[in-house]
């Protein structure tokens, strides 16, 4: 098993290198010459030559890449043009907010999606199954922003139960922090619950038809034990993979929701950076998201090995 784990980890390396090359290439392919922008109106050749030299733009591309990679690895993502703050600091500020939001949303999605999927599979073809499917389809097709705005209107404006927007750090006031997170997490989570429900349902249906579930029933176990102990455990394998991938997606995909609830997270950072052409920030955020995604993928692989006894034996 350790050999398999080690190999999975090693496979991540080439992926990371490819991602870094793509991000580096993106910066090279962007329209506009940064030197022209920096040199100002008069475009003094001497200044331009100096700038070329300073930013090592005369070096061959691979050397430039190596220099850039070294900076990235040491945590130097450059400085935001707009705010003059190092990009690394910006990311360090915003990332925890988004991770918290994504985690809350994931919990919501799992708590709704997995049980709904199980119930729907067990009662396949009944009114229950049908209703759950309709609900899941609605969850999938209602746009996040609309649900968000609706919730703000009802929960915050009408009932005045939860704050409509803003963000408080959990270190300052944990209660307030959770209150601000509830609505955005619900909005994001219900959207994903539909996906999880559909996958749980089909995985459960497959497992419920299997020979070993029949064996479990033939043993005289009660239906609850059959479903939880024998069926669910085996159906969880694809759900784990899907959940980690969805989590990776949440890190980058909460843009709209963060905008609506004005949460100062990753999504907001990237939108602001794109609109102000703050390329260093865009680059840093893209790199971070990609790495996050790759790591979640790795986590999926590792969990997969841990829950599957067959793979535990593999070398």
């Amino acid at each position: 098993m350790l050999g398999l784990l080690a190999r999975r980890c090693l496979v991540v390396l080439p992926t990371l290198i490819i991602v870094s090359i793509l991000v580096f290439g993106m910066q090279k392919l962007l329209p506009g010459d940064p030197i022209l922008a920096l040199a100002g109106e008069d475009r003094d050749p001497q200044t331009m030559a100096y700038l070329q030299e300073k930013y090592r733009l005369n070096d061959p591309i691979p050397v430039q890449y190596a220099v850039w990679l070294k900076q990235i690895v040491t945590g130097d993502f450059g400085v935001s043009v707009r705010t003059d703050v190092p990009v690394a600091d910006l990311i360090f500020q915003k990332l925890p907010v988004t991770i918290q939001l994504a985690a809350f949303a994931m919990v919501v999605a799992l708590l709704i999606g997995v049980p709904a999927g199980i119930i729907s599979a067990v009662h396949k073809g009944t009114v229950t199954d049908y209703s759950i499917n309709v609900a899941a389809l609605s969850g999938l097709s209602i746009p996040n922003f609309w649900l968000g705005i609706l919730m703000i209107l009802v929960v915050s404006v009408q009932w005045q139960l939860l704050p409509s927007s803003g963000y408080t750090s959990p270190l300052e006031d944990l209660g307030q922090n959770i209150r601000t997170m509830i609505m955005p997490a619900l909005v994001l989570g219900t959207g994903l619950a539909g996906v999880l429900m559909r996958h749980t349902r089909s995985a459960m249906l497959g497992v419920l038809r299997s020979d070993y579930v029949r064996t479990a029933r033939a043993k005289g176990l009660n239906e609850r034990t059959v479903i939880i102990r024998h069926a669910l455990r085996n159906a969880l394998v694809p759900i784990i993979t899907l959940s980690t991938l969805l989590f990776g997606e949440l890190l980058a995909g909460a843009v709209l929701t963060e905008q609506i609830f004005t949460i100062p997270g990753f999504g907001k950072l990237i939108v602001d950076a794109v609109f102000t052409r703050d390329y260093a920030v865009v680059q840093g955020v893209v790199l971070c998201t990609a790495v996050g995604f790759i790591l979640m993928n790795l986590l999926a692989d590792i969990l997969y090995i841990l829950v599957n006894p067959r793979l535990r034996d593999a070398t």
Binding site: T215, R217, A218, H230, P309, T315
Partner: protein, 611 residues
């Protein structure tokens, strides 16, 4: 008045479909007395498994409707509450299934799966249950049982998993054991061991057994009473001796005629057709006395010569995927096949017989050796030069459902090889397809249908039509009839024999079924762990087997004759060995000794000395 343990009366099972209820079991009534074994035999779709699942109430309650009464020890199971039924299941009636590979939960240790039953029905603690589980595993002769407790099912072979299933089924000392095709998926020597085990345990526990099977040989070995089912109805029900000795219903007679019997070919040197009996009238359509096959001419050069063929598969492990071992799937295999001759390659799972077949048609590249087709070595040819040889070399696979493309009409399937090789003008392909369909006994008008519209036997006929479309010299038939029902199997074999006579085809007939092999082959090669241990004329191999493995294989074949039941010596618990070797392993040079003309036997080592 009834003394029966289980009494089924007018059982009727129907499945709800889109167009109402379709009954699959009609008016089935039978009794099982305490301590007796009753077998239900029938072919696929006869309703035998549905009957057994209905007794256990394991059919989907939403889609299946059960009518009639099932009385077990004084209670009617059809009206029992769900909780009451759960107290019966696994406790008073337990069940084992056909597929040991998938019948155990892959993510639970076998210890826990065994303990679960005891905890549920006997309220044991985890510790007590585990101790009892070890005792049960000992009882079903699982070696070093205590160490196996923490193992997951994938570490066990099919035979061992079936032993675990049996241990689980017996854990609460049930009054009735339902065994639904428990040995069908197992190799013949393993099957014999499992049958022995079930019989021994039954004697010790005094339980009744309901045995569901399609194999008349197994029925003869194990059953006191036999029930024959056809299309959801019981057509005959009687003492096993009576069913085999004086079958009344035409279908029973047709079924028994189609059963290959080991030893029935003594004194005949060429393959012989099966007798085909009309199911409705009981009149023979094909008489088995018709000897149509010929002995191949020993003067002609062989169609296929295989010399020292080897095939290894690397096993990689570790972070860097270094080769850590090799599966020696085929080791130094040599044989010839002549025109019009059938050489059977027999052996059990993992012996390398299929790999040999695949190497000959170049579906896998051999690691060494020569394969000469009409004198030309085809191993060294590149793909392009080999293409023209493919016409003379065709393959029929085991699974008639998976080997035809479901989105192609059967006419297209059959025409494809001719179009690919451009053997005949395009205009005449359609007529040729019709001719081929006729040749394999199908209506040419069916060429525009899709594979799913055909039965298993018909699909195998289509595969055969496709294989002969290019006029091949040699056909590799890899377990080509193993998946078919007995009567269909007999028909397809008769077809193959006819084609051999008419076209002079040579067959490499790969099979695990010794009784079928005895019927169809001129010569037989027995494979064990990648090597041919014995090869010779069919009559010599079956009449005068030399190698201990050949003897073991032959003695394990169930004999469809209840009178000979006790004559078979009990087999020791053994597992099939695997041909995984270290990287630097070099196979020892083994000598094949000629026993009589054309009958060669490999010298065997000490590992065989104790049987």
């Amino acid at each position: 008045m009834t003394t029966a343990l289980l009494s089924v009366e007018n059982l009727r099972v129907s499945f709800k479909g889109s167009d109402g209820c379709a009954p699959v079991v009609h008016d089935v009534s039978f009794d099982i007395e305490a301590g007796k074994t009753v077998a239900i035999v029938g072919e696929s779709g006869s309703g035998k498994s549905v009957t057994s699942l209905a007794i256990m109430r394991l059919l989907q309650s939403g889609s299946a409707k059960i009518e009639g009464t099932i009385r077990f020890a004084g209670q009617d199971l059809t009206t029992l509450s769900d909780a009451g039924m759960r107290r019966i299941r696994g406790n008073e009636i337990s069940m084992i299934f056909q597929e040991p590979m998938t019948s155990l939960n892959p993510s639970m240790t076998i210890g826990r799966q065994l303990a679960e039953v005891l905890i549920t029905h006997h309220g044991m603690s985890q510790r007590q249950a585990e101790a009892e589980a070890v005792r049960l595993m000992d009882r079903v002769r699982i070696p070093s049982a205590a160490a196996r407790l923490k193992d997951y099912p994938h570490r066990l072979s099919g035979g061992m998993r079936q032993r675990v299933m049996i241990a689980m089924a017996l854990s609460c000392k049930p009054k009735l054991l339902i065994a639904d095709e428990p040995t069908t998926a197992l190799d013949v020597t393993i099957q014999a061991q499992i049958l022995d085990l079930i019989r021994d345990l039954q004697r010790e526990e005094g339980m009744s057994v309901l045995f569901i099977t399609h194999d008349m040989g197994v029925v003869a070995e194990i059953a006191d009473r036999t029930i024959v089912m056809l299309h959801g109805r019981i057509v005959e029900n009687g003492a096993t001796e009576q069913i085999f000795g004086a079958p009344q219903h035409p279908y029973t007679r047709a079924l028994l005629a189609a059963v290959p019997r080991l030893g029935s070919m003594a004194g005949v040197s060429v393959p012989k057709k099966f007798e085909e009996i009309d199911r409705a009238t009981g009149i023979a359509i094909v008489k088995s006395e018709e000897v149509t096959a010929k002995q191949p001419d020993p003067q002609t050069p062989p169609v296929l010569e295989v010399r020292n063929l080897s095939k290894y598969f690397d096993i990689r492990s570790g972070v860097l995927r270094k080769v850590s071992g090799r599966v020696h799937a085929v080791e130094n295999v040599s044989f010839d096949i002549r025109e019009g001759e059938t050489l059977a390659l027999v052996g059990e799972s993992g012996c390398g017989k299929s790999t040999t077949g695949r190497a000959i048609v170049r579906l896998t590249d051999p690691s060494g050796g020569e394969i000469r087709l009409n004198g030309e070595d085809i191993v060294k040819l590149d793909e392009n030069s080999f293409r023209s040889h493919r016409q003379r070399l065709q393959l029929i696979f085991q699974d008639p459902f998976a080997s035809l493309n479901p989105s192609m009409r059967v006419g297209e399937c059959i025409a494809e090889p001719m179009l690919a090789h451009d053997t005949i003008p395009r205009a005449s392909v359609r007529a040729r397809v019709a001719e081929l369909l006729q040749q394999v006994g199908l209506d040419p008008a069916t060429r525009d249908r899709f594979p799913h519209e055909f039965s298993g036997g018909q699909r195998q006929r289509i595969s055969i039509a496709r294989a002969i479309s290019l006029g091949p010299k040699l056909i590799v038939a890899d377990e080509a009839v193993s998946a078919l029902d007995v009567s269909i199997k007999a028909q397809v074999i008769n077809l193959m024999l006819d084609l051999q006579r008419d076209m002079g085809l040579a067959f490499l007939f790969i099979s695990h079924d010794m009784a079928v092999v005895e019927r169809v082959s001129h010569r037989v090669a027995v494979m064990y762990l990648g090597e041919i241990v014995e090869i010779g004329n069919r009559a010599d191999i079956f009449g005068n087997p030399q190698h201990p493995y050949t003897k073991r294989l032959l003695s394990a074949v169930p004999v469809p004759d209840p009178a000979r039941r006790t004559s078979r010596p009990e087999l020791k618990v053994s597992e099939l060995k695997s041909p995984v070797r270290p990287v630097d392993y070099v196979a020892p040079h083994r000598v094949l000794q000629e026993v009589s003309q054309g009958h060669h036997v490999q010298e065997w080592g000490a590992e065989w000395s104790n049987g």
